[in-house]
């Protein structure tokens, strides 16, 4: 009674004459501005240039959505699926399902532990954290702080990446705490990377330590800005170094005005370029050699990988970000910042 080749199997039917189509699932739009603001843009450009069909969607931080979108993409007949997982469990479920249906898979930015992706393209998240840790110690040294109290404003407790960032900066700072060069201050996570809550949390850190915080390790620019707003209120901005990540316009402006010490710039354009090249190739059924591999500790296999390096941005090299086209001068050098831009050599 089951007509196997009738009904809704028109896209699902023959496997030989598949038209290349790429599905991309981004994780959310709120933990960081990059996904909707940068990745989507760059990936779309690349796919359009290569003239392949594509479908880019965002799971809004909801892993049920994430799986639903994956189901829909497979239903819609993608031949390559590129995901930024929300957690390894759902990531693995999606990758396995895709693989069983003969869809090529790529892990983008986050490695799915125990997963089955053919390729992995990423920045090293722990390296990001390391840069933040190193950046903070550099700024503290510049300020000549003696045994400074360092407060942590971590990312969302439910976000695995936040844990990776923390591992990174802990690896730099923990030895200094242990050697009593630095003093460990309050250490709290900000639910949902929520900037408003971050401000309250930081204000309470300041109250609790009676104002004795000499450096703030904020996990991204948004949290950094929240800390800066509280510091400003207490007229401490510029005196207490704050870190960040993502090289947002706001973060860069804070660096130019001296309120923020550094941010981490991830050349998303390059990452997107590498990923889209790979995706276009595998969607057409080709294979590519990346030259590098990464070991998946849980699955115990080597995944072919393209790894990019993040870059620390201080006031001196803000201009590099502009030169890269990641932010434009118009966005950055508005109003009062025109002069600061000029001082920082941005033209």
């Amino acid at each position: 009674a089951c007509g196997d080749n009738s009904g809704g199997s028109d896209q699902a039917g023959g496997s030989s004459d598949k038209k290349p189509k790429i599905g991309v699932i981004l994780p959310d739009s709120k933990s960081s501005a990059r996904w909707e603001g940068a990745d989507r843009k760059f990936l779309e450009e690349a796919f359009k240039a290569a003239n392949v069909d594509y479908d880019i969607q965002n799971a809004q931080g909801d892993k049920t959505q994430f799986q639903t979108i994956a189901d829909q993409m497979i239903t819609n007949g993608v031949t390559a699926l590129m995901i930024v997982n929300l957690d390894s469990g759902t990531g693995k479920a999606v990758l396995d399902k895709a693989k069983s249906q003969g869809v090529a898979t790529i892990d983008y930015d986050r490695l799915t532990l125990g997963g089955s992706a053919q390729y992995y393209v990423s920045f090293d998240n722990e390296a990001v954290g390391k840069l933040q840790g190193e950046g903070l110690s550099k700024c503290l040294t510049d300020k000549g702080a003696k045994n400074p109290v360092v407060a942590y404003l971590n990312g969302s407790p439910t976000d695995n990446n936040a844990t990776l960032f923390k591992n990174g900066y802990d690896s730099v700072l923990k030895p200094k705490f242990d050697s009593k060069d630095y003093t460990k201050g309050p250490d709290q996570a900000v639910p949902d990377w929520d900037n408003t809550q971050a401000a309250t949390i930081f204000e309470q850190m300041l109250t609790q330590t009676k104002g004795k915080i000499d450096g703030v390790l904020a996990a991204n620019d948004g949290l950094g800005n929240a800390a800066i707003s509280v510091l400003k209120k207490n007229k401490l901005n510029g005196k207490v170094p704050v870190t960040g990540q993502d090289a947002t316009v706001q973060g860069l402006q804070n660096i130019l005005s001296g309120d923020q010490c550094m941010t981490v710039y991830k050349a998303i354009k390059e990452e997107a370029k590498a990923a889209s090249d790979l995706a276009i190739a595998v969607a057409k059924g080709e294979k590519k050699d990346t030259g590098q591999t990464v070991k998946d500790p849980e699955g115990g296999r080597d995944v072919a990988a393209v790894l990019l390096t993040p870059k620390a941005i201080y006031k001196e090299n803000v201009k590099d970000v502009v030169a890269d086209g990641f932010v434009t001068k118009e966005e950055l050098c508005t109003g009062n910042y025109a002069k600061l831009c000029a001082d920082a050599g941005i033209s």
Binding site: G7, G8, E36, Q60, T64, L86, S88, N160
Partner: protein
Amino acid sequence: MTTTAVQKEGPAAVAPEPSVGSHVRNYWRRVRGGDMGALPAVAGLIVLCTVFAMMRPSFLSAGNFANLFTQGAAVTLIAMGLVFVLLLGEIDLSAGFASGVCAAVLANVVTVLGYPWYVAVLAAIVTGVVIGTVLGFLVAKIGIPSFVVTLAGFLAFQGIVLMLMKEGTNISVRDETLVAIANRNLSPVLGWALLAVAVAGYAAVQLLRHRNRAARGLLTDPLAVVLARIAALAVILGIAVYVLNLERSRNVLVVSLKGVPIVVPIIAVLLIVWTFVLQRTSYGRHIYAVGGNTEAARRAGINVDRIRISVFVICSSMAAVGGIVAASRANSVDPNTGGSNVLLYAVGAAVIGGTSLFGGKGRVLDAVLGGAVVAVIDNGMGLMGYSAGVKYVVTGVVLLLAASVDAFSRRRSAATGTR
């Protein structure tokens, strides 16, 4: 006083079975008068499906139809439990994260501690029962408004999940049986067999009831109408099973994918059980009574506190079931399980289906219909490929659209004065 003789004859006279024609006419009058039962939710669903099918033909594929069930299962299950709480006019904001806690317990027991799946399932459901008892106790005995109690639960359970997950990592669920719940299908033959059982059972209940009432001389629906209902159910279920038994793998050589997803019979059984409890037991009757008029229920000798506690227990247990299904579908549990929009979607599902937030009005079927609306919207939006911002906006607008079908159809009832 002169009329006493006349009245006495009423109940003694044997009620004539009304004709099919008058039955249909009466039904039509009731619908026009605004007494529509499940019609508006179904109408909303049909409108949604038509729109999506027109915009994306792949929406109508067998594969997508099967996906719909597994995608909507967790929210629907949680919504089914919430119906009980809503029937009392209470709310459970913590149901989402309660399902997360139960899922976390499940994952810990099965993966970290390595017990077999049934121990884990039991542990998860017991956790749900305990949670429900505590919430219910605080509401019924201490007298804190349920909004506040469950808001506290919403916060606390979020923390408990985090602690059970060791601050942010996730735990895989690899047990085959557990994974099967949301990811495997019944064999086609088993699907047909279940269908046969379901239809036969329905027919038996309906016919027995008809005979029973007719024998006592009580008013009944015409036999033809009863038979038509049974036939309609058989046809609808038959089509569903047929479509789900179609091959939906993209690559039949690699893997064959067909059959009714395992969650479907789970939801169906729970729907039948809870509907039975609400409609055919005195416990269910008391729930409606307490929701409709607490003071009247108390005066009728109903133990209101016990009813109140029990619905929270049911709600949290169903949340546990939802959590298990969610864990199965995700093959893992992470600190966000049961978070995000799960709660609002679940309450929304119940309300869209027709359950009132003020208590006394609602059915478990509402949760399933509303859950279907939510799942269809999510599913359909997933096929559209909008950017994040646009997608949120369109989802909101579509939800409003589905709800306004319902609102417009009920406006007639307001106009005729029968609300």
